[in-house]
Point group: none
Amino acid sequence: MNIELICSGSELLTGKLNTHAGFIGEKLNDLGIGLSLVTTVSDRKAEFSQVLSDAVKRSSVIIITGGLGPTFDDITVETVSEILNIKTHKDETVANAIVQYFEKRGINCPASNNERQAQILDGAKVLENRFGTAPGQMLHFQYVVDENKKVRKTIFLLPGPPREMCPMFEENVLPFMRSYQVKMKKTLVLHICGMAESLVDEKIKPTINYLANNDDVEFAILAHNFLIDVKVSVSGENELTIDDTLKNINQEFINVLGDNIYGYGADTLEGVIQKMLVENKKTVSVAESCTGGLLAAKLTNTAGSSACFKQSVVTYSNESKMQLLGVKPETLEQFGAVSAETATEMLNGILNLSKADYAVSITGIAGPDGGTKEKPVGLVYIGISFNENHEVHKFKFLGTRADIRQRSVNVALDSLRRMILKTRTKKVKKDS
Amino acid sequence: MNIELICSGSELLTGKLNTHAGFIGEKLNDLGIGLSLVTTVSDRKAEFSQVLSDAVKRSSVIIITGGLGPTFDDITVETVSEILNIKTHKDETVANAIVQYFEKRGINCPASNNERQAQILDGAKVLENRFGTAPGQMLHFQYVVDENKKVRKTIFLLPGPPREMCPMFEENVLPFMRSYQVKMKKTLVLHICGMAESLVDEKIKPTINYLANNDDVEFAILAHNFLIDVKVSVSGENELTIDDTLKNINQEFINVLGDNIYGYGADTLEGVIQKMLVENKKTVSVAESCTGGLLAAKLTNTAGSSACFKQSVVTYSNESKMQLLGVKPETLEQFGAVSAETATEMLNGILNLSKADYAVSITGIAGPDGGTKEKPVGLVYIGISFNENHEVHKFKFLGTRADIRQRSVNVALDSLRRMILKTRTKKVKKDS
């Protein structure tokens, strides 16, 4: 069965973000039912008609959003009527409901306009709009394939504003779609850091290839600023089999990716760090230069971060590095502010200042200016410490100023995570 | 001329937000050129092929995003090759560039995978990817309408990640599209802070109503976390007339909005602040609690911020507020960490520590936990100072933890901007 979505509205072609496709796609995907195509089209009659008649040919279920309002450019009902050759009628119940909607708000209902919204396709079920005036419609119709064959198809007309469309979709379209749900589907998302996307791909390829002929298993890889997501979806009729398959795939991935997997599903890198720190009753402080507070902002992103985050300083100038963190003037002179030596002294400085268990320091050149041949834009030193364990790593990031700052933060978070993994009190695994 | 966009990627059908259509739609609209259709399709060969062959029939320019990466599900080049019946070849320059991209990062390029990205359509122009490995491609091709008629069409292949796609679009697709521009169109975006969206709407409505029948002038208002954008687009054949209209509308808006307008176009609140500070040779330091570094991160967002940003501290705990900023224990005990008194002492503390000209302090409850009846989630105190001028403002923000943090930062930036406006040495306006 093909399900397709048509989003009607010229504003969606001139810059307005289309959130319908994401919302509907996710809801259907959770049912294990795929959305096969999304088309965004203007509210000009000729173009909308063409898209709709193509859709009617190829799909069993067509969901249309937008174009149900009271104004001249709301052409969904009349276009569907023409393409399906199904008449419309004025629904008095709907017309009265619209008048009442206005009366409740102390406004006179503009008759001509709102009569438009009471036009219902013959045979359609009216879908109540709890957050606006334009009702939705659901219609089953016969599609003539050839003279010997007719098939039953379904079309949904939903309003454009997300606050009206989303509840109407959940209350009317989802229950209908559930009756078509043939298979159950579950999805596992693994979060990975510390490996290039292509290396992750190479490592998991044997598993993917092994399952290549199994249509019930789907894989996807997504990467952003050194954080990589691998998504595994398994469909089937038996929940135990699905769980078992997911568990086996996950184990294969753990075998090849190991500690590079930092979490699953809703986990974030900073959330995972916070959880480990709180569990181990440890604290962290950070000293930043080129990232200017972004690392601290991440570490305080998750509710409850006050339990493990002590303090941070942004020492942008040499003066503040010396004054706040006790970085020695001769270190700055001899090695420069962007050097392993300065990163180490920043680390010692923030540890002395805050008495935290873990500390992170970052110093680098975010650019676009300030680079030299010896110290180019993107050169970043990241220091991590726990007790006697001091590590300083050198990186060379590419990209814009924003990229370099974001990548520095992600790599610093991952370095901190690895330091915590290495130094925390070993716990007996409960689930093995 | 029809221009259509095909966004390829199964993730876009299963819940991931598609931002490409909005970005490309807006950029083309700014040229006065419409996007006629957007199709989102999975990376399964059969479906992608069908969509592409329909597009090739009906449109003169086809822009494809996604599917250029190194992995198994990246099928754009091979599908375009099949549908247009145009061969591909391995481009050695591209292949070398990819190897170098990896070498720069000290990683060995996995040969099999990255060879895939060096496959270029015969006759295509390679579009440099400054932020990733997969190059884009632009190809002009002959489309056979019937035996007597051929037309020249153009296809663009762009990478999927927005940070790679957006600059490549601006550098390659936009200049090409400009040659098709019939009417000239110019857009002015005003940035406003410190007023509710509905009040901005009320203030500018007379101008909008006055121009309601002029189809060459369009208005839009967008608001996000207390920052409001008003967009004015004017089309026409005569550049001088367009400039004149924009200038008049801008003057009307300045009359009613005044200092609430903080900038235009690419201006950011932090950029405007940085510009004023640098011009006046002044510096700023900040002390943050609930915003955890976000304000400092904003103030160091723009290149050159080291000229005016001295330092910042994130004092999340009471202990660090006392130790680093000298907040008195009795203040914390009597008034609490979230109070005007603590905000004032944080302000004094960061001024003493950093000797900056301007200082900002923020203390509040970002939630979701930690609120009480007297001090609910969203209560935030923001302190601003310059010399003897000390101000502390109390706010009650609604929304999620992320909203409250972001709104606090935006309001703190705007308060700092207004303090600088009030206290800076008056300059003779050059442009009046």
